[in-house]
Symmetry: C2
Subunit: 214 residues, 2 copies
DNA sequence: CCTACCGATCGGTAGG
DNA sequence: CCTACCGATCGGTAGG
């Protein structure tokens, strides 16, 4: 009797194929949507047989969920750390501008825009993915801003009776225009100079509404 | 010689079937997207044979273009007239609130939200539809607001060095949060009380930033 | 003879 | 793990 698990001793590390499938599937789903993606194409792109895909993911919906869940979590982190440092120096406007530029860079990354488009397209079929995207994205950012704005208001550095509303206003003053241009106009690239201009304007408007009295 | 165009005298008005096809296709496309819609289902929903659909629309893409073009134009009008009357009375804040409520009602109508979702989902394949939606929707609104804000600034009733930027800020302060909740969270209904609260807050923030000096 | 339309089916491909 | 293949359904078109 020869080894019935010969494949375990092969040069193939365990999990390598699963990672290849997820990576390929992410690319294909982001480009073609749920219905536009075939399991055959995913298998071919991953360099495995279709049957192998089904060994790791029971069906197309489960593969899609793994793709979106993974992509949403990769995207989630970058701003929350920045928010805690808002106004630790004495130039709050500069801190807000820097935060806005970072947020714009993260949210307008082509992969994140594609994920947003995908999640919006499938929000009817998979509402939980839209909710996860919102929670990890704008929801998390606005919550973090609200907490920090409340502290800044207590210190007299912002006029914000309703810190949560101020946080939402800041977030959308920064993000709404470019996100909508990206979603509807298909705009895919945002030069650094554009991001700086958008951030400057959003912060100026925000501070005219919420800045401390001169 | 008998009439050789007897069918013209039938009880079927000309264009009646085309209208039924467009109406059915609009419903099916809005619910299921481009790839999720089959021509068989459209034909069935319209109560005609599939052959009849192909007599009016050469292929699926042409039918889709007719649907989106028609839906975008139906959606376009309602705010532009209102904008011209902004500040004709002496209570600019009240006028802005009323405009905001009307805009919210129009843009958050279930059919318009479904159209936005559809257009975003297919922006890769049909960029012209996203551009048409933007032009007829936010683009048109922001342009109209910019023109009126420029006049109001000249009269000293707004502090707006850059009326176009002020118009975009107003538009997104009003629309961004509910649109993003609708797109990502799948929120479909917005009670009148919610719209009033959103409008009140957006106008208050806008006037703190752009209102005339007290 | 033209149109509008039907029932049935074409070649390919979907998820499984 | 691959090839082959299923029931069904896709967009589009045949004959009558």
């Amino acid at each position: 009797m020869v080894d019935e698990h010969a494949s375990v001793a092969s040069s193939e590390p365990p999990g390598r194929k699963q990672a290849a499938i997820l990576e390929a599937a992410t690319r294909v789903f982001l480009d073609n949507g749920f219905r536009g993606t075939s399991m055959d194409v995913v298998a071919r792109a991953a360099g495995v047989a279709k049957q192998t895909v089904y060994q790791y993911f029971a069906d197309k919906e489960r593969l899609f969920a793994a793709v979106v869940g993974g992509a949403v979590n990769v995207v989630a982190d970058p701003v929350s750390a920045e928010i805690g440092r808002l106004g630790t120096g004495d130039d709050l406007a500069a801190d807000l501008r820097e935060l806005a530029v970072r947020q714009l860079g993260a949210v307008l990354a082509p992969r994140v825009l594609a994920l947003r488009r995908l999640v919006i397209a499938e929000a009817g079929r998979f509402p939980e993915h839209g909710q996860a995207f919102f929670a990890q994205g704008p929801g998390r950012t606005i919550d973090g801003l609200a907490a920090r704005f409340a502290e800044l208001a207590r210190d007299g550095r912002l006029r914000a009776d309703d810190p949560a509303a101020a946080a939402a206003d800041f977030n959308w003053l920064v993000m709404a225009a470019p996100i909508n241009e990206a979603m509807l106009l298909g705009r895919a690239t945002f030069p650094a100079a554009d991001l700086a201009r958008i951030a400057d304007h959003a912060v100026a408007t925000f501070l005219r509404a919420y800045g401390p009295p001169a």
